[in-house]
Structures are given as structure tokens and as C-alpha cells.
Amino acid sequence: MTAKAKIALFQCRWCLFSPADQEWVDTQLPENIHLTKTPCTGKINPLYLLNAIQGGADGIMISGCLPEQCHFKTGNLAARRQLEEFNDFLHYIGYEKERVHFLWLDLQDRGIIQKELAAFEAELEAMGSTQHLATRVMRAEGGENA
């Protein structure tokens, strides 16, 4: 892959307790990482993931809070069930499981998200781009033959 791996980052706005980390995410995120902030991982609909994949993302990272630390008590528990299953399901139909990365952060953690993103990026670049799951960017077959 010549260009940098495109990463869609879905971030629960409560999971980065450290202001320095949050500021880094808000202002210094590299261009190949597209940030979507959500009120809670529970807000992340599997459709968001599908949209990211079909929009051409090479990988998806979801960062959220640990089970007992959810700002809304149970939002992340719901997210864990759904998103994990969605990832399993995508894997079942041929999407590489490694392209969806869950990062559950302890509120005490510092500086982890930078490292994780870098590692994830390296991992994706090693994997190369995927042809699995059609993207919306691709043009449909001229429509000649329906």
C-alpha cells in the first residue's frame, strides 16, 4: 500500500479522561485518521461501521470505556454485545476481523491511544488493502448488464 492506511476512529467522548490525550485526538490526529466522536460507545450503530467500510476505510478503531466506567452506566455493555457480534458477522462473510479494533480504556490510562493508533496503522499497512466488501466509492458496472 503506498498511501497511509485510512482509519475510521469512533471515540466515546468520555473515554479519554486525560485532557492531554483528548487534545491530541481533537487537534493533532494525522490526516489518514477520521474521527467520529460519539456521546458513548452505545451510540455507535453497526451501520456506522458499515458506512466507514463502504466509505473506503482500511480499518476501524473504536475506543470506549471499561465496563464499570460508562458515563451512562450500561451504554458500553450494549455496544460490546452488538459491535462484537457485528465484527464476528462481517468476519463470517469474509471481512478480516483484524480490521476492526476495540480499544477499551481505563480512565486512569494515559497516552495509550496514540500508541494503539500507531500500532493499528502499522498492522493495517502490513495487511495491505482489502477488496473484501464492496465500497461506495467504486463505480458500479456501467449498468450494461443488469
Partner: protein, 340 residues
């Protein structure tokens, strides 16, 4: 002009056409047949008596096609469309008739659809008459037939080990240059086959006064009765060779404005931005579908907008049968508005 084509020669002939044309013919796809371009391998010529699952209208009005290319700066351009010369081989007369009907929609004087016309102009249509009647078709009922010639450049009649080739247009003529003229005997044999096929098709319902009955019973409970088990899916309309409704949608990522097949059986089809829907339930939508085919088309061009291919009958998920619905419509009350 009537020529004779031995079946043995057909594969070579098809291959020879490929030098100048893309040749579409029904080929097996999973458990049904589908119009696909012929490649090097000699395709098995399907001898199934029934139709392709998707009608060949899809070759002229694809399920999805780009109409306009736009940029985010707000400029618009026609979508490019390159159509190479093509031959559609093995169209059944009901489907060819349907394409002919759709011409009246897309090739109007006032607004001509350039995409439809481009495909139309580049296409030679070779029909294959149905010497074996299909189970759910009712072409003779609606005024067409298993060997009807409308919309075709060539009509083939299966004579067992050869085809009788009826040349119906100039563009069709060039394709069969080296064939011999058919003998009178074979011509007569073909005629007999055609008549027999025509007579073998049952009359599924009476069409006399059908339009008036449908129109006059616009508010009848009949529509509720016939649509009660309808699911509101698009099978009947998407598989219909004469249904042409489409939706226009902007695909932002591709920067294209595309048209997709749409169906009057969908709730959002007629839903307005205000929330008002002129056809809020399956009752009104079923009424629209039937009335369009059996009343509105008649007002517009004087022909029934259904060619009796029977696809909607075969594939309705709940077994709704348009023939039964129309038989029931015949029992509706109506007043003769103008005496002879």
C-alpha cells in the same frame, strides 16, 4: 423474408456475430435463466419454455444507471454512456412487446430519454416464439401472442432441428446473409406451430369493459379484498417487463445522480416531504398497479400495459395472482356510459 437456420449452425453463427456485436442471450444463472453476454465458450442455448427471471427491459433500463455527474462545486454534466452494438437473442415475444410499449414512455416527442434511445438504437432484437405454452402466461388474453412480432427485428420459430427465421427489419436482414429461403412446406409447418401455440394459450379473463369496471370502482372494497395478503414488496413490479418507474438519487461518494428501479408497491414511492402520502396503504398501491396496467395505459396509448408474461404470478411470495384478481374485477358492477 423467411429463411431457414439449422440448429447445428447456431453456435457458430452466434460466435460470428461477436466480432461486431455484444451478444446477449439467456444463460443459466443459479436455478434460472438470465440475459448475459456470450463469451468464447459456446453457451448452452437454453431450451426452457419459460422466460428469463429478469425481463430484458433491464438491458434497456438497467436497475441502476448514472444520469448525471456532479461535483461538489455544483457543476453538472451528462453521465457518459458508451453502448457497443448489441444483439439480444432469444427475447420472448411478450418481452419484446413490452419493450415496444416502453418506447412510448421513453421516446416521447416532448421529452426523449437519451439513455434509453442510445441503447435502443444500438440493439438488434431477435425473438424466439413460444411453441410450448408457459404455465402462468396469458399473452393472448391481453391481446398479444406467443408469436407476436412487435418490437422484434427477427422472429424465430422452433421447427425441431431448425429455426424458421422471419426477417422483420432491415437491420435484422444483415445478420442472416448466407441462409437459404425456407420451403413452402416449412413455412406452412411454422404457421401451424404458431397457430397451435396461440390456441393452446388459455383465456385467463375477459378484457371487455375491464377498464371501465376498474375505473368506476375506484372506491370499491374490491381493492381491499385483493390486496389483503399483499406484502408490499416489489417482486411483481421489478420482474414486470412493462414496469418502468424509477427513483432518482444522488450518490455522494461517486458524485453521480443515478436512477434506480422503483416500485409503486413501496410505501415511500409516493410519500411526500410533508408526510402526506396519496397512497398510504397497500390497498391504494395495488389499485395503482392494476389500474395503471389495465386502465391508464389504455387511455394513454390504447393498449393494455401488461403483456401477460406471467412473472408476477409465478413469483409473488404470497401467491397473489393477477389473473384471479382481474377475473374478480369482472364481477364488479358498472354502468355503460355511452351507448353504441
Amino acid at each position: 423474408m423467411n429463411l431457414i437456420l439449422p440448429k447445428i449452425d447456431l453456435p457458430d453463427l452466434l460466435q460470428s456475430w461477436r466480432k461486431k456485436f455484444t451478444v446477449f442471450l439467456p444463460q443459466k444463472l443459479e436455478r434460472f435463466s438470465h440475459f448475459m453476454p456470450l463469451d468464447d465458450a459456446n453457451a448452452e442455448i437454453l431450451e426452457q419454455p419459460h422466460n428469463t427471471r429478469i425481463p430484458p427491459k433491464a438491458l434497456f433500463l438497467p436497475m441502476t444507471e448514472a444520469l448525471v455527474k456532479f461535483t461538489r462545486f455544483g457543476t453538472y454534466d451528462d453521465a457518459e454512456l458508451e453502448v457497443s452494438p448489441r444483439i439480444v437473442f432469444g427475447m420472448r415475444p411478450c418481452d419484446a412487446q413490452a419493450v415496444q410499449l416502453l418506447d412510448t414512455v421513453f421516446e416521447q416527442e416532448q421529452y426523449t430519454d437519451p439513455f434509453w434511445v442510445k441503447r435502443q438504437e444500438k440493439t438488434i432484437r431477435i425473438g424466439l416464439g413460444c411453441h410450448v405454452p408457459c404455465a402462468n402466461g396469458f399473452c393472448t388474453t391481453v391481446g398479444y401472442g406467443p408469436f407476436s412480432k412487435d418490437g422484434l427485428d427477427i422472429l424465430l420459430t422452433d421447427l425441431g432441428d431448425s429455426f424458421l427465421v422471419e426477417v422483420l427489419s432491415e437491420s435484422g436482414k444483415t445478420l442472416f446473409e448466407n441462409l437459404h429461403e425456407a420451403s413452402e412446406e416449412l413455412k406452412n409447418q411454422a404457421k401451424e406451430i404458431q397457430h397451435k401455440a396461440h390456441d393452446a394459450m388459455p383465456i385467463a379473463f375477459e378484457t371487455e369493459n375491464l377498464k371501465e369496471k376498474i375505473e368506476q370502482n375506484f372506491k370499491s372494497d374490491y381493492w381491499d379484498e385483493v390486496s389483503r395478503s399483499c406484502l408490499g414488496c416489489g417482486v411483481c413490479t421489478f420482474l414486470c417487463p412493462t414496469c418502468f418507474c424509477f427513483d432518482i438519487v444522488d450518490e455522494v461518494q461517486r458524485q453521480e445522480r443515478v436512477r434506480n428501479w422503483d416500485s409503486c408497491m413501496f410505501r415511500i414511492y409516493s410519500l411526500e416531504a410533508s408526510g402526506h402520502n396519496p397512497r398510504p396503504s397497500r390497498i391504494e398501491r395495488t389499485r395503482q398497479r392494476l389500474s395503471h396496467k389495465y386502465a391508464y395505459w389504455l387511455d394513454q396509448i390504447g393498449l393494455i400495459g401488461c403483456t401477460g408474461c406471467g412473472r408476477c404470478v409465478s413469483y409473488c411470495p404470497v401467491g397473489l395472482d393477477i389473473r384471479a384478481m382481474l377475473r374478480q374485477a369482472q364481477s364488479l358492477p358498472f354502468e355503460v356510459s355511452h351507448a353504441e
